[in-house]
Symmetry: C2
Subunit: 139 residues, 2 copies
């Protein structure tokens, strides 16, 4: 929890109990959780917790660069506490979102659109079927 608190302060975010809990969850669960998954998990620790707080907090984290919002499917947003350059792969079968390392991190920056005044976000998304789901299907 200490790490999460310091993490927030480094990004200029005042560490309330709820914010620390959300940040801590993101740092200890690299599963790219949805709002609901975070809410369900944290509601056990903080019984008075509201879904709106999760939404508010995640917006705040994204604004300050402490988290990343992934719009990989049109269903619901996924969030990532790790903001170093990397891509994501979503299995359309089980819904899991995996990290994808890039062999050339400069590629995304290099191809920045010419008609952009400034870029706030760049994301590379893959969709398909993961090996786990493919194995289950062939059984």
């Amino acid at each position: 929890m200490m790490v999460a608190k310091e993490h927030l302060m480094q990004f200029g975010i005042r560490p309330s109990v709820q914010r620390v809990a959300v940040m801590h969850y993101l740092l200890t669960h690299r599963t790219h959780p949805t709002v609901d998954e975070i809410y369900t998990a944290l509601a056990k620790e903080i019984p008075t917790l509201s879904r709106t707080t999760i939404y508010n907090t995640l917006h705040l984290l994204c604004e300050h660069g402490a988290a990343l919002a992934l719009c990989i499917d049109g269903i619901n947003a996924h969030f990532d506490g790790f903001t170093h350059p990397h891509a994501h792969f979503m299995c359309t079968c089980c819904g899991k979102v995996y990290d994808v390392d890039l062999d050339d991190a400069s590629f995304v920056k290099r191809n920045t659109p010419h008609n952009a005044s400034h870029i706030t976000d760049a994301q590379l998304y893959y969709k398909g079927v993961c090996v786990d789901c493919a194995a289950k299907k062939s059984n």
Copy 2:
């Protein structure tokens, strides 16, 4: 319209009046329209048109590879009738979606996730402010 019909048939899609109209709209409007934009435009030609048909048709086009669904924001899907490899840039100010050419089209394929059995889609999205909006703001 002839082009759109043949285009559909090449992808194994039976060319109904509505499907041809949607495909034709995508091929003649490179604006990455939303369902609502397509519906509003085509309802003038086809007064009995239903929004559901637009949804159904776009799903069908995407399944057969005749169109691309862009989930660049969480608000609503945008569609692209041009399926050659390219990225997209959305201006968070005016909402327009622009095409972005890539200097190395092999990059995306090369970085395909290791734990993927097979990939059905790969998209690179940029978000920011376009030069038009930046110019308006500075006035």
